[in-house]
């Protein structure tokens, strides 16, 4: 009898392990990466990263769909990762948020495999810059295709690089030869619950290179968040692969901001003050509406260099996943962001585009209020 019991327990454990692995595989097959399952009594805590979608709501919903055919009677908590760093725990049914316990982090640190658990992720994205000013040529545009990748080296530490393939340029004198896309080493961390930081060193869009530091405090369950964006940068110019010129890294910018997520309609109001990248002091107010996959924003800027207003939007580029195998994924970008400012000639309150979403834009997607409102739609 005793032997039977032991056998039964063994069999039960094997079944459990088997189903856990099956679930991991099922999630991985659909594009989820670094899937780690921590089992505690009647609860499954599942860590994952899903780079194809902008909003963790969509990835958690996707994961819920997949998991429903594997798990019954278990309570599930999703722990989405951004750049290989866990953000927090979301209840699979209610999407309520909880910070990570030290046991959760220990489990993650022990099982996190930055190389092994990720695909080689190739991302295609457009780069568009436009100026509507000049009479002789009313629409001056730059249109590039960028193929890039981000590789995780250690927890939160990643490297991004790629290739720019110029398609059209009637705006500036950048050569039409292919060149290296913005390439950077980034370190992303949540050093205390709700305290996020991202430090990058590398080349960015808008001919800038250097050190970029972003810090943000705000738990996803709260509607307030505050942040700092700062950098020490210089100009660089690339002519194909051969000729790259760097100027001194001597431009300092720093901006402090506060953002409030209005309890209605997924509207966010953000006010920033500080010194922008052309070293003009001033402020900017943003109103950002989150539709789910799409963000649309209006803004007004007032600095030493003048006043302007405009709009921005962020959209995923169709179709998303193009193909994926066990080791490689080719996809279009999860976020293409574009900004229009009325007086685009003057250097009023400008920022450079990094080639990766900024911290504030990433963390906005994790707000519980926003996620729960999408669930209700």
């Amino acid at each position: 009898m005793k032997r039977n019991n032991v056998l039964f327990v063994l069999f039960f454990l094997i079944t459990l392990a088997f189903s856990g692995q099956e679930l991991e595989k099922a999630l991985y097959d659909e594009g989820f990466e670094n899937v780690l399952i921590e089992e505690k009594e009647d609860t499954l805590k599942i860590f994952f990263e899903f780079r194809e979608f902008r909003s963790p709501y969509h990835s958690m919903r996707f994961a819920n769909d997949i998991v429903s055919s594997f798990v019954e009677g278990k309570h599930i908590e999703w722990i989405p990762l951004h750049h290989n760093v866990p953000i927090g725990k979301y209840n699979a049914d209610s999407y309520n948020f909880n910070t990570l316990s030290s046991a959760d982090l220990e489990f993650y640190n022990a099982n996190n495999r930055p190389f092994k658990n990720y695909r080689f992720n190739i991302r295609i994205r457009p780069f568009v810059a436009a100026r509507f000013g000049y009479y002789s040529s009313p629409f001056q545009t730059v249109f590039d295709a960028i193929v890039d990748t981000r590789i995780y080296l250690a927890k939160g530490l990643s490297a991004q690089t790629g290739l720019v393939i110029p398609i059209q340029n009637s705006l500036n004198n950048t050569s039409m030869e292919s060149r290296v896309a913005p390439s950077m080493i980034s370190y992303f961390t949540q050093f205390k619950p709700g305290h996020f930081a991202n430090i990058s060193y590398g080349t960015y869009h808008n001919d800038r290179y250097g050190l970029d530091v972003q810090y943000r405090y705000g738990l996803p369950s709260k509607n307030w968040s505050v942040g700092i964006e700062a950098g020490l940068t210089g100009f660089y110019y690339e002519d194909g692969f051969r000729d790259v010129i760097f100027s001194n890294m001597s431009k300092v910018h720093f901006l402090a901001d506060i953002e409030y997520h209005l309890p209605i309609e997924n509207l966010n109001v953000r006010a920033s003050v500080g010194r922008f990248i052309y070293e003009d002091f001033g402020g900017r107010v943003d109103l950002i509406k989150q539709f789910g996959l799409v963000d649309v924003g209006l803004f007004g800027t007032y600095t030493q260099n003048g006043a302007t207003a405009g709009f921005q939007f962020a959209i995923p580029i169709f179709p998303g996943n193009i193909f994926k195998t066990k080791k490689v994924q080719l996809r279009t970008t999860e976020e293409f962001r574009w900004e229009y400012t009325y007086n685009n000639e003057d250097r009023v309150g400008l920022k450079y585009r990094m080639g990766a979403p900024r911290l504030v834009d990433v963390l906005r997607q994790y707000r519980v209020d926003f996620i729960q409102s999408l669930k209700e739609q």
Binding site: F62, Y134, Y135, P138, K289, L293, G306, A307, G320, N321
Partner: protein, 276 residues
């Protein structure tokens, strides 16, 4: 240069049209030349729930490009490209470019217009819908700015759907002194719209009616304080697209094409998985 321009224009038109076709997911009812809920040139208080994004192209013939919107020094055909986003249940924003290809070497891309619509009242059984339209000050060329209050009421009958709109457009606007870029706020001053060229569009009481005998076909008549216009419109492909042709005072033909769709959609991989 001219050839290049024409080529560019036709390219923009074709890609614009194809883009509209490609994006067709959901469409809705009548929109004016600026892609806003309205008849032909006037805005109404119609409100589109669930269709947050709209793209439109409107053609304004040269002879009426002055009278209606922009009393420039030359009369030219105008291509109006615009995008509309419903940001909240009570606020909508619209951005338009008024491109005049024949004189683009003199004026560039043309005037740009950003304006807002605020829903003040939802339509009720006996009450009309009321909307406030506002153009923020700051444009260097405020020829198309318009500020208005408008009421719209729908009537359903056995003969079809009728809609009546009545509005008032402000004869004044906030002018920004071009010479004084650094003192933006101080440089603002109220001016009569008529003093900027001879702009009489939406200055005073305006209004119109529309009639939809069939769910996909309608006709409308309007007065925009400058001209009387009449036209017909069709809503195609389950209302995905709206096409409208109309005349300015029965003399010149104009048209616009419009498309709207919802911004609440799911990523493709998720949609496909949930369909399985």
């Amino acid at each position: 240069m001219l050839q290049e321009n024409l080529l560019f224009k036709s390219f923009i038109k074709t890609t614009g049209f194809l883009f509209l076709l490609l994006l067709s997911i959901y469409g809705y009812s009548q929109n004016n030349f600026l892609g806003k809920p309205g008849y032909m040139t006037i805005p109404t208080a119609d409100w589109k729930d669930g269709h947050e994004l709209g793209f439109s192209y409107g053609f304004i013939p040269a002879a009426y490009s002055d009278d209606t919107f922009s009393p420039g020094s030359e009369e030219n055909d105008v291509d109006v490209y615009s995008v509309r986003v419903k940001l909240t249940q009570f606020m909508e924003v619209n951005f338009g470019i008024f491109y005049r290809s024949e004189i683009s070497d003199k004026i560039g891309v043309g005037d740009r217009q950003l304006d807002f619509r605020f829903r003040i009242l939802k339509e009720k059984q006996y009450w009309p819908a009321i909307v406030l339209g506002w153009t923020p000050p700051g444009s260097r060329s405020p020829v198309i700015s318009h500020d208005y209050l408008v009421a719209t009421k729908n009537f359903q009958s056995s003969l079809g759907k009728f809609q009546v709109s009545l509005g008032y457009g402000s004869p004044y606007f906030l002018y920004r002194n071009l010479e004084d870029d650094n003192n933006f706020w101080e440089s603002l001053q109220f001016r009569k719209k008529q003093s900027f060229g001879n702009n009489t569009y939406l200055t005073g009481v305006y209004g119109g009616v529309s009639y939809e005998p069939l769910h996909f076909l309608g006709a409308s008549l309007e007065y925009n304080t400058s001209t009387f216009n009449a036209g017909v419109y069709a809503k195609l492909w389950n209302e995905h697209i709206m096409l409208q042709a109309y005349t300015f005072e029965g003399k010149e033909l104009a048209f616009n094409i419009n498309l709207q769709f919802s911004l609440h959609f799911l990523p493709r991989s998720l949609r496909r998985y949930e369909k399985k």
